[in-house]
Structures are given as structure tokens and as C-alpha cells.
């Protein structure tokens, strides 16, 4: 069963709908203790890093998420969910994140030809392979909607970057069971749904 962490941010219904469509058993978790019964976790979310972390810590989600990944069970962070996997969010004076990845999350820079947020369909330039992209061709576009970007300190954590008049990091993996996508697989049919399907079968090994 895939548990979807409900920490009060984002359209969780759309993730649940997408998982149901590809016959994955999934549940929106209202209580961190339910994480124990989940084989895999999705950390979703849109909006603010600060509010996101506050909500995670307030209800002890963080402790149960750490316990989950210690057993090498898979965790997928989507959009804000990926950003929260980093050490530090710069927004509103700075907030400590879940620290799976060394590095920070900062506002994307406006430069010529760039409008913010980065919203719409864009492709991934792969730097490393990852099992969630198994049997999916490399030139597919996925749906993005964000104004902040993850800046990992370790280049080896980068699975893909995406070009928006300068590249930013669009997928990260810690080499173990934690993976994050800046784009929304649940909003990117049909291949985004294949990513979720791959995740639902992934054993957490890279």
C-alpha cells in the first residue's frame, strides 16, 4: 500500500485518483502512525517550505518518515515534497528541512525569457538513471508549477535537470530509497502515471 502524507498542503485527491487509475492501492494518511502500515510513501505538497515543515513537525510526521526510510522503504517527494527533503529552505528567513539531501531550496532567478512561476510542460535532461523511469523514453514532457528550485551540494544526487533559460534540478535520488521530482507525475499522463506505477513496484534499491 502507498501512503500519501496529508500534512495539510496540496491537492491530494489528484494523486489518489491517479494511483487508483493505475490500480495501485493507496491511502491518504491522516495520522503519522499509519506510516508503519505503508510499504511506500508519497510526500506531496504545493506552496510554502516554511508552512510545510511547520505542519510536518507539529504532528510528528518527520519522526515516522525517518523511521520508514531507515528500513529502506521507498519515499517519493513531489514538488514541495521534494524540496522538503533538502537541508534548508531559504524562503521567509530560512527553515530547516528533512535533510535527506545536502543543499538548499531557493527562489528561481528571473532572467531574460523567464517568467515565474515556471508553469507548464518541460522535459528532463538525465544525469543518472533511476528505477522510477524504467521503460519510459527520455524526451517526455512533464507538468511543472513552482517558483523555487532545489540546489543540491552533491552532484551525485542529481537524476535530472530541466532547461528553463538555465538548467535547474528536476529529480534527485539519495542512492537509496529516497527520490524526489520537482514535476507532478500525477498530472502528467500517460508517462507520469508510469512513473507512479514504477514507484509502486520499486523495492528501494538503485
Amino acid at each position: 500500500m502507498i501512503g500519501i502524507v496529508n500534512f495539510g498542503l496540496g491537492n491530494l485527491g489528484s494523486i489518489l485518483n491517479s494511483l487508483n487509475q493505475i490500480d495501485c492501492s493507496a491511502k491518504i494518511l491522516e495520522n503519522p502512525k499509519e506510516i508503519k502500515n505503508s510499504d511506500r510513501l508519497i510526500l506531496p505538497g504545493v506552496g510554502s517550505f516554511k508552512v510545510g515543515m511547520k505542519n510536518l513537525i507539529k504532528n510528528n510526521w518527520d519522526e515516522y518518515i525517518y523511521e520508514h526510510t531507515k528500513k529502506n522503504k521507498p519515499l517519493l517527494g513531489i514538488c514541495l515534497g521534494m524540496q522538503l527533503l533538502f537541508e534548508w529552505g531559504i524562503e521567509d528567513g530560512g527553515t530547516k528541512g528533512l535533510c535527506y539531501f545536502k543543499g538548499k531550496v531557493d527562489k528561481m532567478k528571473l532572467n531574460s525569457g523567464r517568467k515565474l512561476p515556471h508553469v507548464g510542460w518541460n522535459k528532463l535532461n538525465f544525469y543518472n538513471k533511476h528505477p522510477i523511469f524504467k521503460n519510459i523514453s527520455d524526451h517526455i514532457d512533464y507538468y511543472f508549477i513552482h517558483s523555487y528550485e532545489c540546489i543540491p551540494s552533491n552532484q551525485s544526487d542529481i537524476v535530472s535537470k530541466t532547461d528553463y533559460n538555465n538548467e535547474f534540478v528536476s529529480c534527485v535520488s539519495n542512492g537509496f530509497s529516497v527520490v524526489g521530482t520537482q514535476f507532478h507525475p500525477e498530472k502528467s499522463p500517460p508517462n507520469g502515471l508510469k512513473i507512479l506505477k514504477n514507484f509502486s513496484k520499486w523495492n528501494g534499491e538503485c
Binding site: L9, V46, G47, K115, V119, G120
Partner: protein, 255 residues
């Protein structure tokens, strides 16, 4: 490279889909939930629902339509119509919308933009602006309440003001061109999209593929919203995507 988007806009009235001309003379164009299924399968990039039922807006029916549509829609789904306060917005998000479209409240209660952005993030807000050309002032003016009330605010001033709030996109809709299928107000979109750092969605006037090509080639807008071209033009998003791609407009790669 970020791709250009085609966004079908579905207008709702009493739970049915409608389309008019210049915000008037609406005719029934079918069942919205069937339309959502069709547009999703025809590779639209996003979908937008706008409830224009200002006289007898039955909130419960409207929300039911959203709930049932969201289940069929796994592309980004924006919903608007009569959002006056945070409660209205919450109901729409809980019904399955990814983004909310705010129009009259930008003029009547601009604080609402900050409130929604605090809870859902600025990316979840599409600021929507309806405008009409005023010949005596030689300027575009902003109209609210589904095109019934002239605010006499200049379009450019209004958009500059919106840029200061935190919103994810701005939908700019020409009332004069609505449903006329004679092409977009290109000059206006070129000016706005050059000046504004927030993505612009152009709306009003698409009648054939070339109108959309023209819009993307002559302005920096991020998306083309269309309605009549699908209802009355016998075209679908797949055909438009192919046409644009063959003419070097970046469209999303699906396979």
C-alpha cells in the same frame, strides 16, 4: 524548453456547458463531465472551468460538477466563478481543483489573493481579467461580474497591480473577441507579455489554428485558452498540437 499550452475553457451555467458571443447569448454545448473525458483523452494541456451562473449560482451543484469532473481529469484543472472569500476557495480546492481562478474579487476584495496564497501558494491562483476596448478613451477597460460591470480601470494599470500580488498566472480575456472566432487581440498580448514577468494566458478569439500560431509567434504568452473553436469549429486539441508542432511551436511531448 518550456512548451506552449492549449487550455480548453468550459463555461458552466446551471450545471451545463455553454458558450456565447461577447459574454452574451449563451447556447447549450453539452454535458461538462463528458467534455472533461473527451478533452483529457485528446491531450489538452490543462482544463479550465468557469461558472458564469451569477443569477442562480447553486454552489452545491457547481461543487458536485467539479468533484465528478476532477475524477476524470488527470491533467491540471483550474476552476473559477463567484469566489468571494477563502471559504469559497477552500470548497473548490477540496472538490479537486488544482488552481483557482479569481476575477471580480481582485477588484472587490484584493486581500483575498494574499489569503489564498498563504494557504495554497501563489502558484495555485490564476488572476482572471476581462476587458473591453473603450473607443472614446482609446484604452482597454476592465469589466467584472461576468462582463456586466465596467470598473473603468485601465487594463494595463490593473495588470500592473496584479503583478504586485502573489499569483501564478494571469488569464487575459477580450470580451470584444469572445466567441467571435476572428483571432486574438495580438497587439495587446504582445504588449502585456513583454512587460509582465508572470505567465500570461490569452483568451478570446481563436477561430482557427492559424490564430493560435499567430498568437504564439507574435507574443510571449505562455498559453492559449480556447473555447468556441472546439465547440463550433469541429477541431480538437490533438489537431491543433500537430499543426503547431509542424510549424516549430514547442508543444509537449507525450510519447
Amino acid at each position: 524548453m518550456l512548451k506552449k499550452r492549449i487550455v480548453p475553457v468550459l463555461l458552466l451555467k446551471n450545471g451545463r456547458m455553454v458558450k456565447g458571443k461577447k459574454f452574451n447569448n449563451y447556447v447549450d454545448t453539452g454535458d461538462p463531465i463528458t467534455a472533461v473525458k473527451i478533452y483529457s483523452s485528446q491531450d489538452a494541456d490543462e482544463l479550465m472551468f468557469l461558472d458564469i451562473d451569477t443569477d442562480s449560482r447553486s454552489k452545491k451543484n457547481f461543487l458536485n460538477t467539479i468533484i465528478n469532473s476532477a475524477k476524470e481529469c488527470n491533467i491540471p484543472f483550474s476552476v473559477g466563478g463567484g469566489v468571494k472569500n477563502l471559504e469559497d476557495a477552500k470548497d473548490i480546492f477540496l472538490s479537486g481543483a488544482d488552481k483557482i481562478v479569481i476575477n471580480s474579487s481582485i477588484v472587490n476584495n484584493p486581500k483575498l489573493l494574499d489569503e489564498i496564497s498563504y494557504h495554497y501558494g501563489s502558484q495555485a491562483i490564476i488572476a482572471s481579467v476581462d476587458y473591453k476596448y473603450n473607443i472614446s478613451k482609446d484604452d482597454n477597460e476592465v469589466w467584472i461580474d461576468c462582463g456586466k460591470k465596467n470598473t473603468e480601470i485601465s487594463l494595463n494599470d490593473h495588470i500592473k497591480k496584479i503583478e504586485k500580488y502573489r499569483v501564478g498566472e494571469i488569464l487575459v480575456n477580450s470580451i470584444d473577441r469572445d466567441g467571435m472566432m476572428g483571432g486574438y487581440d495580438i497587439e495587446n498580448y504582445r504588449n502585456i507579455s513583454k512587460k509582465i514577468d508572470i505567465p500570461i494566458i490569452a483568451c478570446g478569439g481563436a477561430g482557427n489554428f492559424n490564430h493560435i500560431l499567430d498568437l504564439f509567434n507574435s507574443s510571449e504568452v505562455s498559453a492559449a485558452a480556447c473555447s468556441s473553436i472546439f465547440h463550433f469549429g469541429d477541431y480538437n486539441p490533438i489537431q491543433i498540437r500537430t499543426y503547431l508542432k509542424n510549424r516549430n511551436v514547442g508543444m509537449r511531448q507525450i510519447k
